[in-house]
């Protein structure tokens, strides 16, 4: 069966390509390190992918003006909407 609802598949930080930006949406609070939230990873803030290590892991991001790296497993949990 072909799924026609592709457009509703939620994008996460992990779907960004280098240089692309997104606006942070929802995430499961208890799974995201508090430290990351304190660095500005909060709903509504902007995130940009700066650089990828091989295997897309870790990801080098600019979140709300802060430069930091997180692992893919964390990036997968944070929903975004891409900014074009």
């Amino acid at each position: 069966m072909i799924d026609l609802t592709i457009s509703t598949i939620q994008e996460t930080i992990n779907s960004l390509r280098p240089g692309e930006k997104g606006i942070i949406g929802n995430f499961a609070v208890e799974k995201i390190p508090l430290k990351l939230q304190e660095m500005g990873c909060l709903p509504g803030n902007e995130v940009q992918l700066i650089q990828l290590a091989p295997f897309r892991d870790p990801l080098f991001l600019n979140i709300n003006g802060n430069n930091l790296a997180i692992r893919r497993e964390t990036a997968d949990l944070i929903e975004i909407t891409k900014v074009l």
Binding site: L34, K35, D57, P58, N67, A69, I70
Partner: protein, 698 residues
């Protein structure tokens, strides 16, 4: 003089706390350890303009008062436990002007604890380049505090800061945020349970990620609040973070502006090159290669010099002091012992020079980024790379460097495998054995001896990685991963910071290793110069009476006597006793003694053999010659032949012959279990490998 004013420097990592600390205290500082753990504690005194003095404490960097690693926990504890000596009269919160918003989160938390706090905004020299403009007065008004804009690099604003420290009693101590607004019912209940306590302090105690039992056990025991990590607490913490950002945003947009058109952006250019998925690795390996080349080339000259100086000193002592047990202890026990430590100073100093350059420049975080995925395959973390590199100098600082790894399991594995890395104490052992058993020839253009040494480095690293892989399968994980690494801006290192780091690390190495080696060399000297049998006390008569010795010259006779005496000293008896265990590895009783004594520290091996072969000085050539002509009585072949040599090299590559490592691991893991496991596994494995190698090769 009355009580000294206690000032703590607090702030995010890389905001310039240590630079400021160095400026305030100069060389008036000591580095110690916090009791029980080995997080470094830097303290110093600073003269204030009014004539008073302030006691300054440089705390580890932390992003907030919600701790997620051992360093951070320490900061939180020092601010929560009012009764302990580190509790500050004044908190100087150091912020980086480039990341002011994030830095202010921590500042508001500290203000909420009602500790008098000054906000220091550092790196003012960067403002123009980044196009930043700042309204200090507005900030002071909105945050209800004093703000000092300064630059540790350009040394501006320091006097102003000192004045503010002096006047700290005039600081307002009003909180920024009231936590009870986050969830009225929850906090009402909490306050009711502990009516005496300050609510925000209470909330911090309840919500800590890291077990903060030590803070106030009575606080946490009796009630449902002791249950940490519940989703409810997490949600409240997020709410608190959002509330803090909202509070800050309310005035920061007016007080702080960035004009991007004026900013020059070197950083993204550099990052595109240095963290590139191919180029980044090439550059990293090139830097490592250069670093090790430099360490070995540069340190060989001072090392030779130290070696010879100590040999001369021993000789001089022997010749110029009256003969007797004291002179003998000094010349044959203490001096060679100290020499054995001091000889590593150049290598350790150069290594820390490079490590501190990598850290100061901001490149270290890029290494963490590049290596994380690769290291994780083996149960390690990108942050394990720093300890593993430091391990080539010495496992002690390396194990200490693991404390910023938040994940318990990754930190444990890093601690456990670090001692496999070829540390500088293994070098003298390797060098002498390689010189004995590996021919000085070239093989396809490479020197065989050099290749062997390199092979040993690769072997050590390979073993570390391999055992990490195995441990990863065995050790159970305790917590979620919290890998978040800040990528700080690139900086030209400040000479003063680098110099202080090198001085301080080298000093602490000499002190830690020095004490142990000194103690061992005294014990060793005692055991080697005493015995209980006639063989020991009448050695001279017995040797002279032996018919085959009558032809010997006086010098040779003395050597023969000394060697006979040693065989029958306490240490000789110990050596003979363990001989059956080590014979299958190709060792005799003399090597056995060296194995026993070098259990305390590997480098003692060479010194012990020097004593045993009764060569007064540790001059390598002479020991080497004597060692190479020594014959194994049992086999009739050379004692140090190829199989024995290889077996020894492998033994030293794997065995945990270092008491200081055991001590530091015990401290860092807070139990005897881990060092014990480490010792048994590593040394057991070393025995088996050495056994296998010797049996195969003969």
């Amino acid at each position: 003089m009355g009580k000294q004013l206690k000032v703590s420097l607090i702030g995010n990592p890389n905001t310039g706390k240590t630079s400021l600390f160095n400026l305030l205290t100069g060389l008036n500082q000591q580095v110690g350890n916090y009791p029980g753990i080995t997080v470094e504690k830097k303290e110093g005194t600073c003269r204030l303009p009014g004539g008073g003095k302030a006691h300054i404490l440089d705390l580890p960097g932390t992003y907030s008062l919600n701790a997620s690693s051992a360093d951070e926990q320490l900061v939180v504890e020092s601010l929560l436990r009012k009764e302990q000596p580190d509790f500050p009269d004044l908190a100087v919160v150091v912020a980086d002007v480039e990341n002011l918003k994030r830095n202010l989160i921590l500042f508001t938390q500290i203000k909420d604890l009602k500790i008098p706090a000054i906000l220091v905004i550092n790196m003012a020299d960067q403002m123009e380049r980044r196009g930043i403009s700042l309204d200090v007065e507005l900030l002071e008004k909105k945050l209800n505090t004093r703000v000092v804009l300064m630059s540790a690099r350009k040394k501006t604003g320091i006097d102003e800061l000192k004045k503010q420290i002096e006047d700290y009693q005039q600081l307002p101590v009003s909180p920024c945020l009231s936590v009870s607004e986050l969830d009225a019912t929850y906090f009402e209940r909490l306050q009711k349970a502990f009516p005496e306590e300050d609510l925000y302090r209470l909330w911090l105690c309840v919500s800590q990620d890291v077990a903060l039992k030590k803070i106030d056990e009575s606080l946490l025991k009796a009630n449902e609040y002791s249950e940490r990590n519940t989703p409810e607490i997490k949600r409240l913490q997020q709410k608190e973070t959002i509330a803090r950002y909202l509070y800050i945003n309310r005035f920061l947009n007016n007080a702080y502006q960035v004009d991007r058109t004026k900013a020059t952006d070197w950083r993204s250019v550099l990052d595109r090159i240095l963290t590139h998925r191919i180029g980044g690795y090439a550059i990293f390996f090139l830097i490592m290669l250069l670093m090790f080349q430099a360490i070995y080339n540069w340190s060989s000259i001072p090392m030779d010099f130290i070696d010879q100086s100590f040999a001369h000193l021993s000789e001089w002592t022997n010749n110029h002091l009256p003969e007797g047990p004291f002179t003998s202890l000094l010349a044959e026990g203490i001096l060679p012992g100290i020499g054995g430590v001091v000889i590593f100073v150049p290598q350790i100093a150069f290594l820390f020079l490079f490590i501190s350059l990598l850290e100061e420049s901001g490149y270290m975080s890029r290494i963490v980024f590049l290596m994380d995925r690769l290291m994780r395959r083996f149960g390690l973390s990108g942050k394990s790379v720093v300890p593993l590199i430091s391990g080539t100098a010495c496992a002690i600082p390396a194990v200490m460097a693991t404390r910023n790894i938040e994940n318990w399991k990754e930190r444990m594995i890093t601690i456990l495998v670090t001692p496999f890395i070829t540390c500088s104490a293994r070098l003298p052992v390797y060098l002498i054995i390689i010189a004995l058993v590996i021919p000085d020839q070239t093989f396809v253009g490479f020197n065989l001896q050099g290749l062997t040494l390199m092979g040993l480095y690769v072997l050590g690293f390979g073993m570390a990685v391999l055992s990490a892989f195995v441990l990863d399968k065995i050790i159970k994980n305790k917590a979620h991963t919290t890998f978040v690494v800040e990528m700080p801006a690139y900086k030209v290192p400040m000479a003063k910071n680098v110099l202080y780091t090198v001085l301080e690390k080298t000093k602490s190495f000499v002190l830690v290793a020095g004490k142990i080696i000194l103690a061992i060399s005294i014990v060793l000297w005692f055991l080697a110069s005493n015995g209980y049998s006639d063989d020991f006390y009448q050695a001279e008569e017995i040797v002279r009476a032996q018919p085959e010795n009558t032809m010997l010259s006086e010098q040779e006779m003395q050597t023969a006597v000394a060697s006979y005496q040693l065989q029958h000293s306490y240490i000789g008896i110990i050596g003979h006793a363990i001989e059956p265990v080590i014979r299958p590895l190709g060792y005799d009783w003399k090597i056995g003694i060296a194995l026993v004594t070098s259990f305390a520290a590997r480098e003692v091996f060479v010194g012990t053999l020097a004593t045993i072969y009764s060569v007064g000085s540790e001059e390598e050539e002479t020991i080497k010659e004597r060692m190479s002509s020594d014959v194994n009585i049992r086999t009739g072949k050379k004692l140090f032949d190829f199989p024995t040599g290889i077996s020894l090299l492998l033994f030293y590559a794997f065995a945990l012959q270092c008491m200081s490592t055991l001590a530091i691991v015990k401290k860092e893991t807070n139990s005897w279990k881990w060092p014990f496991i480490q010792l048994v596994l590593m040394s057991g494995f070393a025995y088996l490998v050495a056994l296998g190698a010797y049996q195969v090769l003969t």
